[in-house]
């Protein structure tokens, strides 16, 4: 490693101000600090620092996403072979999925990081690690049949409009990965809804509807239709939990997502407060619908089933917990999470046009996060003022 360090030290002056490649300074710096934690020491304040940095934080999140990614790859293969009616060994299914998914991951990272590097260089900043996670989240919320150029355009939109116009990681008000998905959803709706996009190279005769779509169809269903829908995919709740259902690449397996959640909570990186309150909020709204029971959707889908359908769990664990776009106060996190879950189920059931409401609920609450924080902060201010009055 010493040779590598020497090599980097030798090349460094070329990239500094006045050097031949000064225009690539941020790029060089990004690779340099990726390979070596720099020799910077504390100049003021505490003389020792916690070992954690953003690279570590982000890499833990990426690790937490790996179970979902791997399962997603397997499920892509599984769904494909199921739809064409063939049986295949597990490895074949996985390799099939790998071949389908890898290009999307590569496109997301190349496009996103390319723009990040360019912006960092333009501003003379260091490249922020935030996109390491966004770049993984974006493929996981895409349908497997998403054309690569659409992924590229969505990613570019998310990084530029969702993040860089605000000043980069830490300054954005919405979750960039969700911005990518929302852009995709509204710009190319035919590629993100319907029955054909969720299963790779699906046989035409096979129904590729997601359980969520089936559930949405319940709203106007006659009792007979409702019965047939309920005995179909919607009755396979174990498959939904494990993830053997059609859906976006990484969102189907509640089990894999929960493994990720355990990693995030155990390391202290993800906020358990937000995750828990999202689930509580979703369950509460589901339970209210169960009580009302105004249509078959409300009546027949038990509250807990909302939590394992569609992107609910994925959103709760990986999207809602993005610390930049979420509320920052402890109390605010409970409110924010609860409302996300609550709204997601509300939109799902009440608006058949948006069966996947999780994305909208989170973006909506991202928007309101500063407001929630504002009231929590005012609460703190009031307590302080009250103390004076009690004394006086």
């Amino acid at each position: 490693m010493k040779a590598l360090r020497k090599f980097l030290d030798k090349k460094k002056p070329l990239f500094e101000k006045g050097g031949k490649f000064a225009k690539l300074q941020s790029t060089f710096d990004a690779f340099d600090t990726f390979l070596f934690v720099p020799d910077h020491t504390s100049k003021t304040g505490t003389h020792i620092k916690d070992a954690i940095d953003l690279k570590r934080t982000m890499s833990v999140v990426v690790m937490a996403l790996i179970p979902s990614l791997l399962f997603g790859m397997y499920n892509i293969g599984y769904q494909h072979f199921l739809s064409v009616g063939e049986t295949a060994p597990l490895m074949d299914m996985f390799v099939y999925g790998l071949i389908k998914v890898l290009p999307i991951v590569v496109v997301s990272y190349v496009v996103g990081l390319g723009i990040e590097f360019a912006f960092a260089q333009m501003r003379g900043h260091a490249v922020n690690e935030g996109f390491l996670v966004s770049g993984m989240l974006i493929p996981l919320v895409m349908p497997v049949e998403a054309p690569l150029w659409m992924v590229a355009v969505s990613t570019a939109f998310a990084v530029v409009i969702g993040k860089e116009v605000f000043g980069g990681t830490g300054m954005n008000i919405w979750n960039p990965a969700l911005i990518a998905r929302a852009f995709f959803f509204f710009a190319y709706p035919s590629k993100m809804s319907g029955d054909s996009v969720w299963i790779a190279e699906k046989a035409d005769t096979f129904s590729g509807a997601t359980p969520l779509a089936d559930a949405a169809a319940l709203v106007d269903a006659t009792p007979a239709q409702a019965e047939s829908l309920m005995s179909g995919a919607l009755s396979q709740t174990w498959d939904m939990f494990i993830g053997l259902i059609p859906g976006s690449i990484g969102e189907t397996s509640t089990l894999a997502i929960l493994i990720g959640a355990v990693i995030l909570i155990a390391t202290g990186i993800g906020s358990w407060r937000i995750m828990l309150s999202v689930f509580v909020g979703g369950y509460a709204m589901g339970a209210i619908f169960n009580l009302i029971g105004a249509n078959p959707y409300m009546e027949l889908i038990p509250a807990w089933q909302h939590l394992i359908m569609g992107g609910f769990a994925f959103g709760a664990v990986f999207m809602a917990t993005d610390p930049v776009s979420a509320t920052q106060t402890t109390r605010g996190k409970y409110i924010y999470g609860f409302l996300i879950g609550f709204l997601a189920v509300l939109i799902r059931v009440m608006n058949a046009g948006f069966p996947e409401a999780m994305m909208l609920a989170i973006l909506f609450m991202n928007t309101f996060a500063p407001l929630i924080d504002h009231y929590v902060v005012q609460g703190n201010v009031k307590r302080r003022l009250k103390r004076v009055k009690v004394k006086a």
Binding site: D53, L54, V388
Partner: protein
């Protein structure tokens, strides 16, 4: 208040090199210095010139805006240097000590029999006033203020902190005399805060003229600012004074012996010290003789006057800070580490459990001064709250300081905090933000705007 207040939010950082409770002899230091930079917000005016002869207790400089506050020489001898920095800012006033210390003579008296004005005058004249600090702002107290209470924390919970009981062994009478003197300075109470788990000496638990409060738990349980917050928080317009236990003893000695005697024990600790232990020395002493032959010489080191969270980086022939009772020596750590962020990290300490060192919770660490990363914008939330046991929203307060919003700072509790209370926030910060500096900037701004 006999019930124990347990501080749960915070973090004990376990480091290698805690000082053994053994008092070792070191060669006497030849030079001593008082550093105006130890007193935030002070504008010093010199009273002596180079080559002047001084006694212990002779004023070296005073506060331009409170001329009655003097800063005294800790020893007798000759002023050999006034070291200045940029724009002729005074950094150190150095005194070469005589072989035997000559003391200025002050009045010997039982403080219980003196009036408030008499106690105040003695403290101001002798230079001991500099050891009385105030909250808000964490600066030297203003003699004209009437503090609502005076707080003394009788234990230190910082990493490798000196054991206060050991520091004050044999000083029970002087300590009580110091408390008696402090009790004269306020209409409110003198609060002495002890930790029941440390089995502290009777001079603390059975102190007269003061109220004993009990605090336990993790660092910063021993920070006086945290204790004030839980006993009697500071509101706008209120002032409380704080004094550290060794300095209470200095005050006691003044009234008992009539001299400015600021000799104290100091802990020499840290991973780079061969045998960490205590030394007898005098406030402001050069650390050269204390460190001589005591350090492991494997790599570049950093000498800190104070603890690793709030102390100051001093050179190996620098001087002990005015308020410090420990010298910590750690590795500098100005090295590159290959893929350091990706390693399992069994020897890396982190509040998060993202390094596998959490498997060994009782391990002691050898931490260096490396930042372990780079400066970033705020990304992670909820970190500071885990280590700040106050009803203060740390990140919002920091941000209000950064945008210089005075009203907001006031509303969010700038009067209640000192930089040292935010030291752990700075330690755990993923984005490596200089939190203590920012808090000090905020305080400086408040002082400027409110005066």
């Amino acid at each position: 208040m006999s019930e124990v207040k347990k501080i749960k939010k915070g973090l004990d950082i376990k480091l290698i090199g805690k000082a053994e409770k053994v008092l070792e002899k070191a060669d006497r230091s030849e030079t001593y210095a008082i550093k105006p930079t130890d007193f935030p917000g002070l504008t010093p005016k010199l009273k002596v010139k180079v080559d002047a002869e001084v006694k212990a207790g002779s004023p070296l400089f005073f506060d331009k805006y409170s001329p009655e506050v003097n800063f005294a020489s800790p020893v007798s001898g000759k002023v050999i240097a006034v070291n200045r920095g940029e724009r002729r800012k005074i950094l150190e006033v150095v005194v070469q000590a005589d072989a035997e210390i000559q003391y200025e003579e002050f009045k010997k008296a039982d403080p219980n029999g003196l009036s408030r004005e008499e106690v105040k005058e003695e403290l101001l004249k002798s230079g001991l006033w500099a050891f009385i600090r105030q909250r808000p702002y964490d600066v030297i107290a203003k003699p004209e203020d009437a503090p609502k209470a005076i707080f003394v924390s009788a234990f230190d919970s910082a990493p490798l902190a000196a054991d206060v009981d050991f520091l004050l062994e044999g000083e029970a009478e002087a300590f009580q005399a110091g408390i008696d003197a402090l009790a004269k300075l306020t209409d409110g109470k003198v609060h002495l805060n002890i930790n029941p788990n440390l089995n502290q000496a009777k001079m603390f638990s059975e102190v007269k003229n003061a109220t004993v409060n009990k605090f336990a738990g993790v660092h910063p349980a021993g920070n006086v600012g945290v204790q004030i917050h839980h006993i009697d928080p500071i509101n706008k317009g209120e002032v409380a004074w704080v004094v550290r236990p060794q300095e209470v003893v200095f005050i006691g000695r003044l009234f008992q012996k009539g001299i400015y005697d600021v000799s104290r024990k100091v802990a020499l600790c840290g991973s780079e010290v061969k045998t960490p232990c205590y030394f007898e020395t005098i406030t402001g002493a050069s650390v050269r003789n204390i460190l001589k032959g005591k350090l492991k010489d494997d790599e570049k080191i950093r000498v800190v006057s104070g603890n690793v969270l709030t102390g100051k980086h001093i050179p190996e022939d620098g001087f002990i800070g005015m308020y410090d009772s420990q010298i910590t020596v750690i590795p500098e750590g100005d090295k590159f580490e290959f893929l350091g962020w990706a390693m399992p990290g069994l020897s890396k300490f982190s509040m998060s459990k993202s390094f596998f060192s959490w498997l060994t919770p009782n391990k002691e660490y050898r931490l260096d001064a490396n930042l372990n990363g780079e400066h970033r914008a705020y990304v992670v939330s909820g970190e500071y709250e885990k280590v700040l046991p106050m009803d203060v929203l740390p990140v919002h307060l920091i941000k209000s300081i950064l945008v210089e919003d005075i009203d907001q700072m006031e509303q969010l509790g700038i009067y209640e905090v000192a930089p040292e209370d935010f030291a752990l926030c700075e330690f755990v910060c993923t984005s490596k933000i200089d939190v203590q500096d920012i808090v000090r900037q905020g305080i400086d701004l408040m002082i400027k705007e409110m005066s």
